[in-house]
């Protein structure tokens, strides 16, 4: 039962690179979130935030258009959401580098679906 060498494309370094991407994204996000948490405690007030935005652009403009405490609060959240998206984007190129074209197209499809969720559906 040892035919693994023949039919198994080992995506060399791929595991390490995308694992590193995920770990870095999560660590940055959690660190910033911790700072936010401390700031919330220091300020001692919670302004419940409610409200929906028409689309991604109005949201980004609302958050980053003028710098506020809410901007600081949303940054770790956005970094965290973008982390798996970055992993998918990187994988497209890593599969291409390995001449693994079908998987590269598969991953590109996932990336396009994510873009649709961010810019069209949302």
């Amino acid at each position: 039962m040892n035919k693994s060498k023949v039919d198994k494309p080992r995506n060399k370094d791929m595991e390490i690179i995308i694992g590193y991407t995920l770990r870095t994204g999560v660590l940055i996000s959690i660190s910033l979130a911790l700072i936010d948490l401390i700031l919330i405690f220091i300020r001692g007030s919670v302004n419940y935030y409610t409200g929906s935005y028409q689309n991604t652009f109005t949201f980004l403009n609302f958050i980053f258009g003028h710098f506020s405490f809410l901007t600081l609060l949303f940054i770790p959240i956005i970094i965290l959401i973008i982390t798996p998206v970055t992993r998918v984007l990187l994988s497209i190129f890593l599969f291409l580098k390995n001449k693994d074209y079908i998987l590269s197209i598969t991953t590109l499809t996932v990336f396009i679906i994510l873009l649709i969720s961010i810019f069209i559906v949302a």
Binding site: G19, I30, F41, Y48, S52, Y53, Q54, I77, S117
Partner: protein, 278 residues
Amino acid sequence: MLIFYFGIIVFSILAGIIGALVGIGGGIVIIPILILIFHINIKIAIGASIISVIATSSSAASVYLKDKIINIRVGMLLEIATTIGAITGAEIMGILNTTVLLYIFAFVLLISILPLLKNRDQEVDENVKNDNIANYLKLSSSYYDKKQNKTLHYNVTNIPGGFVIMYIAGLISGLLGIGSGVFKVLALDDVMKLPMKVSTTTSNMMIGVTAAASAFIYLINGYIDPYIAIPVMIGVFVGSYYGTKLIGNTSNVYLKKIFILVILVIAIEMILRAMNIL
């Protein structure tokens, strides 16, 4: 305000520990806690949960990637189904009212417990044959099993069946803001016949991308309140980390059974809440 906030952090840590120990995930445990104890709107609870789900699954996946257990090819292929499902689910969530969401949540919580009660065997089924798609995409793979101290080769079958279940798993994830790892493992292990170890780890990698697809929709629709999401994400992340460390301990079998009972009680409480009795 400080006590309220402190409470959310403590309960998020607890949810993370229970979620990791029972193998059900932190998100599905923290949502009912936020609703029942902290009286937070279910959609805001769902929004906070999905953020914690991305954090815990991504960090777990990075460890399993290093150990080369995850089947990246299978994961990437099925992410097409889970992300489309997640978008559908997130859109439906926006339309549904609170009561209906409570019922659906309680129902999903109850069926999520079922697979935990059965003892899954860790053996690799050698009779599994690759289907055509698996052959074409070279999906069969191998992993190093620490317990048996050898490399185990495995095949992958019934990709279309797995694809359908994965779409449903994504839909549930987007609808309720949970990782829905139980359903992803169902597709990978029971339908596609991947070894259990590969199924759970590959599912972990897929959860992050699936959650990201619905998280942006929640964000734009205003379901992510950072004042709630930030303490929940930190708490569940820390709790899951310690929960995972505790898993190796065999005396935890008893603890696990108690926690499954706790989850059962939570599900019943949610149904009562939905019926307006609680």
